[in-house]
Symmetry: C2
Subunit: 191 residues, 2 copies
């Protein structure tokens, strides 16, 4: 059993997003997800996730940690935005091109359900909180830390939507760099 | 019945926050809230709110509209941040000093429950979306509109927490003006 575990988790996530996209989030049961993931049981599902909603946010903890660790590891002389940028590079580096189509389906499922939108807003706030806390550790005070965090997650989510729906071969890292640069430019136009 | 309606809604909100603070959110039933609000029935409760959670976010729609209307009404020459600021003045102007203690209890209830934190993150995103849309109407492009909106809700929420827990007589409008000014100053330190 143990050697199947990492794979099991990923299979459950893929099966869930497929089923949600095909037949709707509300209409899909945990048993169906487990079955689609290769004849698994509900019990196996619940060893990995608290409920069917959490499957869609399986990455939250690892995303949080990627951001925090990379911001902590940024050079001492990095500015708040440069350290945030280092966090975004680490996070986006894990999104390989084969996740693109999956990401588009995940975004569509979330967009179609207000409960999932709430959960997504919470994930966004959690990631912003992780960036803020990591910048505090570097001595960046409030409200600058929170502001850099908002710019960072803002760039990431804008880029993620663009990347997921794009046919180009650009990586999420490249698209996020552009989005971050656009936000920085836009700052000058706010008045 | 009809002439009681506005009052009924406010009484249900107050009763709910009181009970959640006293005995916990999970332990409180809709029947108890209705009873505490002056011997009302569950049925009356459900004429006003979809469930007990929504009582805590009763202001969302009116807050959204206050922001949107004031941003639309700002002078044509107002910059994106000035228009956002006009929205915040309209929103915060509705928070009278007698709401301060109530607001502190509401924040404590939300902070103690992850389901409520999710819902609060969604309300925040909804208000940011309202500001963004109102700025789009004024011809402010993306990502500047979204950025101004994040600065605006960031200032509002920082100020709201500060105001709710403060013993001073400063209005929420004043505290929000300060928070907004602090955010603008911090922008220059991001590097």
């Amino acid at each position: 059993m143990a050697r199947w575990e990492p794979n099991t988790r990923a299979r459950l996530v893929t099966a869930a997003v497929d089923l949600f996209a095909e037949q709707g989030y509300d209409a899909t049961t945990v048993s169906e997800i487990a079955e689609r993931a290769g004849g698994l049981t509900k019990m196996t599902f619940f060893r990995h996730f608290a409920d069917k909603r959490e499957v869609l946010f399986a990455g939250q903890e690892i995303h949080r940690r990627l951001l925090a660790d990379a911001i902590a590891a940024a050079p001492a002389e990095a500015t708040p935005l440069e350290a945030t940028s280092a966090g975004l590079e680490a996070l986006t580096g894990t999104f390989t091109d084969e996740r693109r189509e999956f990401s588009a389906r995940l975004l569509a499922v979330v967009a179609g359900n207000s409960e999932l939108q709430e959960r997504a807003a919470y994930k966004r706030a959690t990631l912003a909180g992780a960036i803020t806390a990591a910048l505090h550790e570097r001595g960046v005070p409030d409200p600058a830390a929170g502001l850099a965090a908002e710019l960072g997650v803002g760039a990431f989510y804008r880029a993620f939507e663009r990347w997921a729906s794009s046919a180009s071969q650009e990586t999420l890292t490249d698209v996020t760099r552009q989005a971050f640069a656009e936000l920085r430019t836009a700052l000058a136009t706010l008045g």
